[in-house]
């Protein structure tokens, strides 16, 4: 019991005043109280994980610190001095920089141009080239090496992130806020990011990491502040923090919240039972629900984005699609949903040839699609939650009727709000007002409506739990399992390998528009899958991409669906 206390004392001895102190911060947006009397403290040279479910107020709190929002009440001290942070510029002058979830880089510019952009100084010509030496020094000091002359659009997400960090550091950030930095990263990239974060802290920086992923919180946080519904639930030391304790803090141990969520051990038991049942059923259900035969598709500039992909989904099967973002997964989903035309190959649903069917006909045939980009492809931002909910299911819901029955839509929306625990004041709220996690709940509910209305159903889900908190992720997984039990098929595209391994019956790996490997449960070796994802293993096999198993023990060499034809 003595050991942790003494650590704290040495810490505070090293730097007596905390880097940042926020006291009694409150912030409301209309009726929504985003932050309620929040206290938050950052010590010098620590990695502080700021954790919480969606809508808990993590990002809002940091936006206040970064000068994007003005708090309604409360005070902020930086290095002991009371300050007012009226703008992001004021924040950076105080040494506070933030890297947002969506990067703010100019794609056709080089890394260097992006770093100095907006900080060139006043005149016409100065500043553009004069800061290379300074930036090179920063790169060395913090172990952030990037090619300064590469164009942003050619760089992977992980490197773009480094450039964002460099940008903040080059402007004098001493406190660096990273908002959900691992969202778009692969496993390996996450490891590299954490290495970078450690080097930044070793170099004298203080880092706030906004996240809701358990492993990251426990893996890197010196201290952890957990937020819940706009309040701070606790601030604890990262060392010795158990997963159970953390889950308890995140979910809240009081009242209704725990009653709804299962204990951590329970879902996996249910999973195994479901899996066994599904396996039994599948043996007599030989027919395929969704079959792709040698499907190819072209991108906007005519390049082949999907090459000769074959898939076979049988009733009660979840097939996971692994791959680094941008390797054709999105096109695969779009092609099945009918948004992108098939150039060659055929697509069957329940034996029906739907290769050239419209999106509407596919919806009526029971293809539900959870799109990748929720805001752009999913919601009707200014229409009501109910109107976003029925977009797609409305074909079956209203048939050939002329009248749009608003009461029916509203009733449906109320039911979904209750069943899916959507945080919304009522069913008329514009969809754009919902938080990302709640938008996803609505989109998942919509997919379920499509499936319920059809005889057989196939769900194509693109990264359905990205950005969701633990509770919401679990509930999505349970719904997928429910579909499996019902005899529907799920094509789960995900960049979260853990999720794929947990849910899938098979995992296929996509690389450069091709399916380069297939793995059968339970032989899901993450490193073999990872090697295929990054293209490291394709060369060694040499065979046609479709039929290679990537040389892994658990992978089969041909797909059963293709043989049966």
């Amino acid at each position: 019991m003595n050991a942790p206390t003494s650590t704290v004392q040495t810490d505070s001895a090293r730097s007596a005043t905390p880097a940042v102190v926020m006291r009694g911060i409150s912030k409301s947006f209309g009726d929504v109280r985003a932050l309620v009397d929040v206290d938050f403290e950052l010590r010098h040279e620590e990695v502080h994980a700021l954790a919480g479910e969606n809508g808990a107020g993590k990002t809002t709190l940091m936006n206040v610190l970064a000068g994007l929002y003005q708090p309604d009440a409360g005070e902020i001290r930086v290095d002991g001095r009371p300050v007012r942070i009226g703008s992001p510029r004021a924040a950076i002058e105080l040494g506070i920089g933030m890297v947002h979830q969506h990067f703010e880089l100019v794609a056709p510019f080089t890394a260097y141009e992006n770093i100095v952009l907006g900080a060139e100084g006043g005149g016409w010509r100065n500043g553009r080239s004069g800061r290379r030496a300074e930036i090179a020094r920063l790169m060395e000091h913090y172990g952030l090496s990037v090619d300064l002359d590469a164009q942003i659009r050619d760089l992977p997400i992980g490197v773009q992130q480094k450039i964002e960090i460099l940008k903040a550091v080059s402007r004098g950030a001493r406190v660096l806020i990273l908002d959900e930095p691992t969202t778009h990263l692969t496993l390996q990239e996450v490891d590299r990011l954490f290495e970078t974060v450690r080097q930044l802290v070793a170099g004298g920086l203080t880092v706030v990491l906004i996240t809701h992923k358990l492993r990251e919180i426990r893996g890197i946080g010196d201290r952890v502040t957990v937020m819940r519904r706009g309040r701070v639930a606790a601030t604890v030391e990262g060392a010795g923090l158990t997963e159970e304790r953390l889950v308890g803090l995140l979910m809240g141990t009081d009242g209704a919240a725990t009653a709804r969520t299962n204990t951590p051990g329970e879902p996996s038991l249910t999973l195994e039972a479901l899996r066994a049942a599904a396996n039994e059923r599948r043996q007599d259900a030989g027919e395929s629900l969704l079959r792709l035969e040698g499907v190819s598709a072209r991108g906007s500039v005519g390049d082949l984005v999907l090459a000769d992909c074959s898939l076979d989904l049988r009733p009660g099967e979840i097939v996971g699609v692994a791959g680094v973002a941008g390797n054709g997964q999105r096109d695969l989903g779009d092609v099945i949903a009918g948004i992108q035309p098939i150039v060659t190959g055929r697509l069957f649903v329940g034996g029906r040839d739907l290769t050239d069917a419209t999106v509407r006909d596919r919806l009526l045939a029971g293809i539900a699609y959870i799109p990748e980009d929720r805001l752009r492809e999913g919601i009707l931002p200014h229409l009501s939650l109910g109107e976003t909910l029925v977009l797609g299911p409305h074909h079956a819901l209203f048939g050939t009727s002329v009248v749009f029955d608003e009461r029916r839509v509203d009733a449906l929306a109320r039911a979904v709000i209750a069943e899916y625990d959507v945080a919304a004041p009522d069913e008329h709220v514009p969809a754009a007002r919902l938080s990302g996690g709640n938008i996803q709940k609505v989109l998942i509910a919509r997919a379920m409506l499509v499936l319920q209305q059809a005889r057989v159903g196939v769900l194509v889900a693109m990264n359905p739990t990205r950005g969701l908190d633990i509770g919401a992720t679990r509930s999505v997984h349970r719904r997928f399992e429910g579909l499996r039990e019902r005899g529907d098929a799920v094509l789960l595209v995900s960049e979260d390998l853990d999720e794929l391994r947990r849910l899938s019956d098979h995992i296929v790996v996509m690389y450069r528009g091709r399916i380069v490997g297939t793995f059968q449960r339970p032989a899901f070796d993450p490193y073999q899958i990872g090697a295929l994802m990054t293209g490291m293993a394709t060369g060694t096999d040499g065979g046609p991409p479709n039929e290679t198993g990537g040389g892994t023990g658990g992978a089969e060499t041909t797909r059963p669906g293709r043989d049966s034809r």
Binding site: F29, G30, D31, V32, A34, T59, T60, N63, H100, Q101, H102, D179, R229, A256, A257, A337, G338, I339, T358, V359, R360, D361, R362, L363, Y369, P371, L375, R376, E377, G378, I379, L380, P381, H382, L383, E387, T388, L391, G392, H394, H395, F398, S401, V402, V403, F404, E406, D421, A423, A424, P425, D426, P430, A432, R433, L434, S435, G436, G437, I439
Partner: protein, 367 residues
């Protein structure tokens, strides 16, 4: 969570009315007031009495039966034009061709009206002429609608270009084949007497066009709110990508929205012929199409708002026209005056919109 949500809902309901009044009307009242003050200062600068001018505006447009009738007649094409723009705007389209649609509507209405004989029953003749206007407007927008729906050609360019075509077609007809030689002017022969739109009341001097405009407004509101077509239009207008993912035939929805929009504008042309001029004239539309765009924005693309904006603008037009006569203001001052009020209201609209954005501006949401 639910207790919290309930409390929030209750709070929202309790003050809903007060908040509605505050949020929806106060900014506009403040804007109009501000514009009036600035306009008043301008009037003082050019040596006129601002209060007298203000009084004249309202007394001329609303103070007498005749004035009121004139206001209603003027409001009719403004309302229909603005409804047309607003309807297309709900599908995310900008119909800049209201003028052209008014002209082709008027041409078709005149054509039918010229063919009808004097002893055709009015019950047949009037609907025929109005229907001709309706169809003419739809035809006028059809090229733009088809190009937009099937080839993605921007409807703004096409509708603007079509404006010239139909305006000059009207000029050709009014000066050429349909010209009334006895008048010596660039106007057509009068349409059949039977095809004249009935008068609302003799004292008022207004035709029933305003009623037709209101009914059309109600029908459009019903379509938008209560039909699947309306839902599709609103969905396509709000986020066409999501609508496509949701299986909507985005192109076809755009086509229908534009054709309905054009037809409504064409009806305005038909009503101007049947109710007001009884002939095809040059300058039939003194820029109704552009005013219609402004009014649609002011009415925030909602039929009710558009109707109110149309009436208010007609008051302003008729009233400020009389300023030229009574207060001896130059016409340019009148135009400045009208523009000021428009600018102020637009400013209020965008300020409101900005505030809404800030409220909804959490990282997860986009405007």
């Amino acid at each position: 969570m639910s207790a919290q949500a309930d409390a929030a809902t209750a709070r929202a309901r309790g003050s809903a009315v007060g908040r509605f009044v505050f949020r929806e009307t106060l900014p506009y009242l403040a804007a109009v007031l501000g514009a009036l003050v600035v306009a008043g200062l301008l009037l003082i600068l050019i040596g006129a009495d601002p209060l007298a001018a203000l009084g004249t505006i309202f007394s001329a447009s609303l103070g007498s039966l005749g004035g009121l009738g004139q206001t209603l007649n003027r409001a009719t094409p403004l309302i229909l034009g603005a409804l047309a723009v607003a309807f297309a705007a709900r599908a995310g389209l900008l119909n800049v061709g209201v003028d052209g649609q008014i002209y082709l509507g008027a041409i078709c209405a005149t054509g039918v009206g010229l063919l009808l004989t004097r002893d055709t029953p009015a019950l047949v003749a009037v609907p025929l002429v109005l229907a001709a206007g309706f169809v003419g407007g739809a035809l006028a927008v059809l090229p733009a609608a088809a190009l937009r729906a099937y080839w993605g050609v921007n409807e703004i360019f096409v509708t603007v270009m079509l404006n010239f075509i139909f305006q000059y077609l009207a000029e050709y007809l009014a000066t050429g084949p349909w010209n009334d030689p006895r008048s010596g002017e660039a106007i057509s022969r009068p349409i059949s007497f039977a095809a004249q739109l009935p008068i609302l009341s003799s004292g008022l001097g207004a035709h029933v066009g305003i009623l037709i405009a209101l009914v059309i407004g109600a029908i459009l509101a019903w379509i938008l709110r209560r039909t699947l077509l309306g839902y599709s239009i609103r969905a396509v207008g709000d986020n066409s990508t999501a609508a496509r993912v949701g299986g909507m035939a985005v192109g076809r929805v755009m086509l229908v929205a534009l054709v309905v929009s054009g037809a409504v504008a064409g009806l305005a042309g038909g009503i101007e012929i049947s109710g007001y001029y009884q002939r095809l004239i040059l300058g039939l539309s003194p820029g109704f199409g552009y005013m219609a765009i402004l009014l649609a924005v002011l009415g925030r693309h909602r039929p009710l708002g558009v109707v109110l904006a149309g009436v208010a603008f007609a008051v302003l037009l008729v009233g400020s026209d009389s300023l030229q006569r009574s207060v001896r203001l130059p016409q340019s001052a009148v135009l400045v005056f009208q523009a000021l009020i428009l600018l102020a209201v637009l400013l209020a609209t965008s300020l409101r919109a900005n505030r809404r954005l800030t409220v909804a501006g959490t990282p997860g949401s986009t405007p």
